[in-house]
Symmetry: C2
Amino acid sequence: MGEGSINKGYYRLYLPINTIELKPKLFTKLYKHELKATQEKQEMENGSRNVLKPMDSEQLREYGHRMVDFVADYYKTIESFPVRSQVQPGYLHNLLPDSAPDHPDTLEQVLEDVKTKILPGVTHWQSPSFFAFYPSNSSVAGFLGDILSTGLGIVGFSWITSPAATELEIIVLDWLAKLLNLPEQFLSEGNGGGVIQGSASESVHVAMTAARDKVLRRVGKNALGKLVVYSSDQTHSSLQKACQIAGIHPENCRVLKADSSTNYTLRPELLQEAVSRDLEAGLIPFFLGANVGTTSSGAVDPLASLGKIANRNEMWFHVDAAYAGSACICPEYRQYIDGVETADSFNMNAHKWLLTNFDCSLLWVKDQSTLTEAFSTNPEYLQNKASQANLVVDYKDWQIALSRRFRSLKLWMVLRLYGAETLKNYIRNHIKLATVFEQLVSQDPNFEVITPRIFSLVCFRMVPVDNDEKKCNDRNRELLEAVNSSGKLFIIHTALSGKIFLRFSIGAPLTEEKHIKEAWKVIQEEASYLLRK
Amino acid sequence: MGEGSINKGYYRLYLPINTIELKPKLFTKLYKHELKATQEKQEMENGSRNVLKPMDSEQLREYGHRMVDFVADYYKTIESFPVRSQVQPGYLHNLLPDSAPDHPDTLEQVLEDVKTKILPGVTHWQSPSFFAFYPSNSSVAGFLGDILSTGLGIVGFSWITSPAATELEIIVLDWLAKLLNLPEQFLSEGNGGGVIQGSASESVHVAMTAARDKVLRRVGKNALGKLVVYSSDQTHSSLQKACQIAGIHPENCRVLKADSSTNYTLRPELLQEAVSRDLEAGLIPFFLGANVGTTSSGAVDPLASLGKIANRNEMWFHVDAAYAGSACICPEYRQYIDGVETADSFNMNAHKWLLTNFDCSLLWVKDQSTLTEAFSTNPEYLQNKASQANLVVDYKDWQIALSRRFRSLKLWMVLRLYGAETLKNYIRNHIKLATVFEQLVSQDPNFEVITPRIFSLVCFRMVPVDNDEKKCNDRNRELLEAVNSSGKLFIIHTALSGKIFLRFSIGAPLTEEKHIKEAWKVIQEEASYLLRK
């Protein structure tokens, strides 16, 4: 908790219990059912005495409506919550019992607990004033798709376990590949294709495992200790995690320095030098990870030049466009994935900035057999005619887990209920809002924008006084804590070349220009307070 | 498609288009909104001309209700669908356009497509006549939890990103550990704790990676080629996949034979012999996977004896109770996890048989630091006061991915809305139904039950004629295909000691005694037909 905020009394305002008391009227809809509670309890207990009917269609209808109302009311009131939860570690332990109830509670009781105990501990990613990390979009269409998916309750690991789940995924990933104008090799017609993973971490983990196994088939499995991975120091930590899990030796992970001279993108010459040095040392360069929209500053690596080096050296080239990939459906931003034709795998997260509720991480590969060779298993109990005849895709062999949800439904619904043109305008609007914020920052002499902005992320900081960078870092950290403790917005920091700066990341579905301006006002006020201290 | 079924005209009945025509009245609710379609389309297009409002609370309310109605109607009519989808590979490709629409479609159009194009390709896991694989339970409570989780749209990788998500998960996993009477070391008080993974595959992958890194820290990372994994040949293919991903050399995966003499459980002496042999050869035994409820026949390995061997040899001991773990909340079934106190990790899937909609795989470990040492990353942009002060759990360091959904909500709702006693009775009822099926099989001289039944899985087959096992296998395969092509139920096969047999797995939430009897009648009829041929 930032001291500044405590001093100013913001903190107390947002203690769990008060958070709720602030908006008693906003949830009145919930209470209309309160009289039903006794009846409900009896129903549930009958269930426990006789046999539970856990999937009664009329109960699903009634309770489902109530839960939808709860969610709708949540969105109606979302701006009344502190954006970043203000609870203390362990807060919930004291609010909930030590063991599960033996007998049913009512839905009323549970929803009451959600309001008074859970919501105070929620950091509101869907708040229009959430500017932290990168966005994780929720939309009506994505929400509907998730309801349908969880409602159908199917597990589509093999084609036969629900042909529609596999086939819709193939089709919708092709749709998106076309919107992104990906090279034909990534489409499902030939050897390529797309698959939905849970996250960019899983995508890079899957790609790296496939790449590792591919090279080890060539050079022998005892050569694992010689395999080398390359990326810039701006690459997301998921690549490091993928290396750890794949068993790549830490000393063989080349984290190449990217600095302000290239706006924090990876210099191809640096990569070439590293690769050459490793080859001379008898090592085996096998994996290059490049970024379209780094986490810290939204930087875009030069894919074409990097890809050439990877291709020449028979390395697997993975492109992580988890956040910025969504923007590339707009013709004017497509340039940022130019060179993707040199890649072996390409990843973007529809759950970040393309309105598809988490999780929906899209991974395309040029050669699907690299995945199936790494991840296939074929036990007797999973054998079936369609799979044995090689007539179908079994996505279980494209991922870590066996089981998988029907996630293509929500992406399909987003694409159909909004349409491609609307989605492009949605992206453009956020980028426009980022230019607004950028201008606001530029006009204030106490602040500076630190790296050139490409998409909807603005990196900025309070400027140093008397060139004291250390003090400047401390001050920006203080500003961060004060702003987040206010509850009025949520941003995070990062570091570039030893400088702490703040990230203002726009992309929540509810964000409008007024939220940008309000946020800036809070930041300015907290900064003035710090400067006066 | 089974020829027998085509001959009898079942197949035609279930062509996609007829599937729909069979039940025009059942979806009438959907059409009441049809007049709104034009208005809707205009709304969406306004969205595209101006700026999309993808999260309007009143649109969410209205459309959410309609989707809930759609799901409720689906459950009302679920018995009218062929249980296993009867479509042909590639069916959907011809029904959907080649690219995403530029402009919005209406919800009406999308729901119509779900009915006419998607549902025919769905294999109905929630059908009361779904007896394939193991169940994947859906319930009203689980459904509500998923709606709320997707509605809140938070991503709880670090504590600060939504403290409630982390804390509720810790609490609810403790609740379940207590219901299972797990040793205290698995609870969150000390060094242990539970975490929700996506699947049993992920759970064993995570456990094995942690185990691998733990032993390699001791013996040096170049010893990877010496590490040996042990399991019975009845172990789920996810263990083999975990070995592949962890880079364990295939020749070091000991798949120990389990046969009918021990009801397909792993003999401790066999394990001891293998471990001794490997130690003598200078290899490093490091991981043992045991099963409580194997996939093929529901067998239960003798945990205590196996665990002793693992402990004595400093091996990681992982217990996979993905399916049968749920039964162990009943005191009378708790005996089947006796010996779990010798395990390092224990896994059960609440999404299988405990009414929590997929996915919700529960993994407990005794020493959480083994996970965090394997999976931690700590980039600047994820640093925050609570994490740096080591005051909180950051579940990102307990799993492969960074991001994660708020999955504990649905498990919490299941426990609260049903209560522990009701859940136990729910399990008991399925096991009782299994005894009913078992009796039916036993009474028919053309059939035999093949392994002793413990939980709700019955393994059976048509008996061989003249001791011709090959012909018997073929006949059981034919029976399988005929039964599944009827659309009236769905079962799968497996093989034990070279014999093909059929698995009748009970556990769908809607299954009642009448469905068991109807299913048996279909099986008997198809068998008679085969015997007459």
